[in-house]
């Protein structure tokens, strides 16, 4: 009687033990694969986050230009005039504007100063960079005058972006 009542318990115990053993084997086989997969995906997530940060940075740069709301570039001659100097007016030569993305275009102007104080040239380039939209100095070639110290002839190239429809 007792034996008949107690019979299922060993079977149940062995079943539980076998299931435990089976799941252990399964876990031993599955865990390394899943672990590798998780590690790889987490590395990919980190890379994707880095890409998103870069995208945000690029969007920020683009947004900064969009806030200029289509104002045209101030001509370098105008900036020179506003600085009210008694220097001889430089020679300005503008190249053909180059269209870039989304209705924007790049303007490029080359200026030649025959004899100008170098300190003044630095101030002029800074004033061009502070204009809205700004001009940027793409290239400058200074040859210091031998006769008078602090003077030199300067050739500079300025670049600027503006919206095509706002162009004069």
């Amino acid at each position: 009687m007792t034996r008949r009542r107690g019979l299922p318990l060993p079977i149940i115990a062995w079943l539980f033990a076998l299931v435990g053993l089976g799941t252990s084997v399964m876990a031993l086989r599955e865990a390394p694969r899943l672990d590798n997969s998780i590690r790889r995906k987490r590395m990919d997530v980190a890379e994707a986050r880095r890409l998103r940060a870069e995208l945000t940075r690029l969007d920020g740069i683009r947004a900064a230009w969009d806030t200029l709301s289509g104002a045209p570039l101030t001509a370098p001659e105008e900036i020179f005039r506003r600085m009210a100097t008694d220097l001889a007016a430089p020679e300005w030569k503008e190249r053909e504007p180059e269209p870039i993305a989304d209705g924007w275009r790049r303007r490029r102007v080359e200026g030649v100063f025959h004899e100008a104080p170098l300190e003044w040239i630095g101030a002029f380039v800074n004033r061009c960079a502070e204009a809205r939209p700004p001009w940027r100095l793409a290239r400058i070639h200074v040859v210091v005058s031998e006769s008078s110290r602090g003077y030199g002839s300067v050739t500079m190239t300025l670049e600027g972006l503006e919206r095509e429809e706002t162009a004069p």
Binding site: G20, A48, L118
Partner: protein, 464 residues
């Protein structure tokens, strides 16, 4: 919470003692319930303890244990020259048959202890008792109103009780004799450290005891101890008195002086010595190890013993089942957690990639490819704007003019674009040129070449 309860019944001619052992989650308790001299069948029948035991047995709540007298059996330690337990068990009957004074076929024997003691040797404790002696003892107990579930050897019970009440394990090479003084006979159990070596019985001293008779009654035990432990025991012999028929203290003191005359013996008496055996038997009921010396035949198995064994077996199976269940739960939970983490990482990747590529859902397995392509497209379209926001030529010009003025360098020419730089000039000292170099390097320029003769210098540089 109480885990187990056991009753020990020390019933012999002219004496009855009953003790109870209870084991709790935290600790254990042994107490004497009854001591009765010259019990009659009437007094036994009306004793509250007997009904207590019967009630506990009826509810299958406790095991009752009684002893098979030592004179009815043999307790001995054997050395089997084998290390394999199964083989040792196979050869043991032959060894016992040659050692015991009975025919083994008519006996029941149990092996309460079997362990490897030395290289290729096994130390075995065997308890042997004739079947008819066991049956007689059981009948006598039943006639007195007791039906013990377990019958154990008196000698083994005394030794286990002695170790429980005064542990010996911290004293290496300690030898001990436990002397149980019963009214009908005296029992002596001897051992070295925790190992029982022998258990023998001897007649009690004759009536009208004096010290000489007591010492004389003790001599068989002392002789056996000397024979068994000659050259082994290096410490004083511990002699523990117990039993209901202990001689008066003054007689015992004189007998102890006589016994100690030819050897160093330390005498002691257990508290409540009369019920010592009953307590030891009760402890055997509560301890699976102690009850491993069960002598009651399988054909006449007590239901309490059967249910106790069934419970023990069930506990063992439940342990296995619990281990299996826990293992399953831990493994499945661990795998589920890993799978969840994997899915979450995949979902994160897919969400970020879709966010970057501005699509509803990035294709599985190609999330990073899609994201990289989207960022590359954006990089290309934003490149003119990014370039327009930078002014490396302006900074290089400002740095060159300022540093040249600070360190008194005479500039001759400067040709600076976004990525290339050429500066020529004259400096009085090389440190001044080094200062200009350092200032341009701080602006991110890599200066490729520096040369010139005398104080004149030419500096070329690039930047990415």
């Amino acid at each position: 919470m109480r885990i187990s309860t056991g009753y020990g019944i020390d019933w012999r001619e002219g004496f009855l003692a009953v003790a109870r052992y209870e084991r709790f989650c935290r600790g254990e308790r042994t107490e004497t319930l009854l001591k009765m001299s010259s019990p009659t069948s009437d007094s036994l029948a009306t004793a509250p303890t007997a009904s207590l035991i019967r009630e506990a047995q009826r509810r299958r709540r406790a095991l009752a244990v009684a002893a098979v007298p030592c004179r009815e059996g043999v307790v001995l330690r054997l050395r089997v020259p084998l290390r394999n337990r199964a083989r040792a068990r196979r050869v043991l009957p032959s060894l016992l048959d040659a050692t015991i004074p009975f025919s083994l076929e008519e006996c029941r024997y149990v092996i309460p202890e079997m362990r490897v003691s030395a290289v290729n040797e096994m130390s075995v404790v065997a308890v042997v008792a004739p079947r008819d002696a066991i049956a007689r003892r059981l009948e006598a107990l039943r006639a007195a109103g007791f039906d013990p579930a377990i019958l154990v050897s008196e000698g083994l019970a005394l030794w286990i009780g002695s170790l429980a009440e005064s542990p010996i394990h911290e004293e290496p090479d300690a030898a001990r004799i436990v002397l149980y003084a019963g009214g009908d006979n005296w029992v002596g159990v001897g051992g070295l450290e925790t190992e029982i070596r022998w258990a023998i019985s001897a007649p009690p001293p004759s009536a009208g005891v004096d010290a000489a008779a007591v010492a004389s009654a003790c001599l068989p035990f002392l002789r056996r101890w000397r024979a068994e432990t000659f050259g082994v025991a290096k410490r004083p012999l511990q002699w523990h008195w117990c039993g209901p028929a202990l001689p008066p203290p003054e007689v015992r003191a004189e007998a102890e002086r006589r016994l100690a005359a030819d050897g160093h013996i330390v005498f002691a008496e257990y508290p409540e010595p009369a019920s010592f055996l009953a307590r030891s038997l009760a402890r055997a009921a509560g301890d699976a190890g102690a009850s491993s010396g069960q002598l009651r035949c399988a054909e006449d198995e007590h239901p309490d013993w059967a249910s106790w064994r069934a419970r023990s077996e069930a506990r063992a199976w439940l342990g296995l089942a619990t281990t299996g269940a826990l293992l399953t739960a831990v493994n499945l939970a661990g795998l589920a957690a890993l799978r969840r983490a994997d899915t979450e990482a995949g979902a994160d990747l897919s969400r970020i990639a879709a966010d970057i590529a501005a699509v509803r859902r990035a294709p599985y397995g190609r999330e990073l490819v899609v994201a990289r392509a989207a960022v590359e497209r954006r990089r290309e379209s934003a490149a003119p704007f990014a370039r327009a926001a930078e002014a490396p030529a302006l900074h290089a010009l400002a740095t060159t003019l300022r540093t040249a003025a600070d360190v008194h360098i005479q500039l001759h020419e400067a040709d600076i674009s976004d990525q290339r730089l050429l500066v020529t000039g004259t400096a009085a000292r090389t440190e001044e040129v080094a200062a200009l170099e350092q200032a341009l390097r701080d602006r991110g320029w890599t200066l490729e070449k520096r040369g010139g003769t005398g104080p004149a210098f030419t500096m070329k540089g690039t930047r990415p």
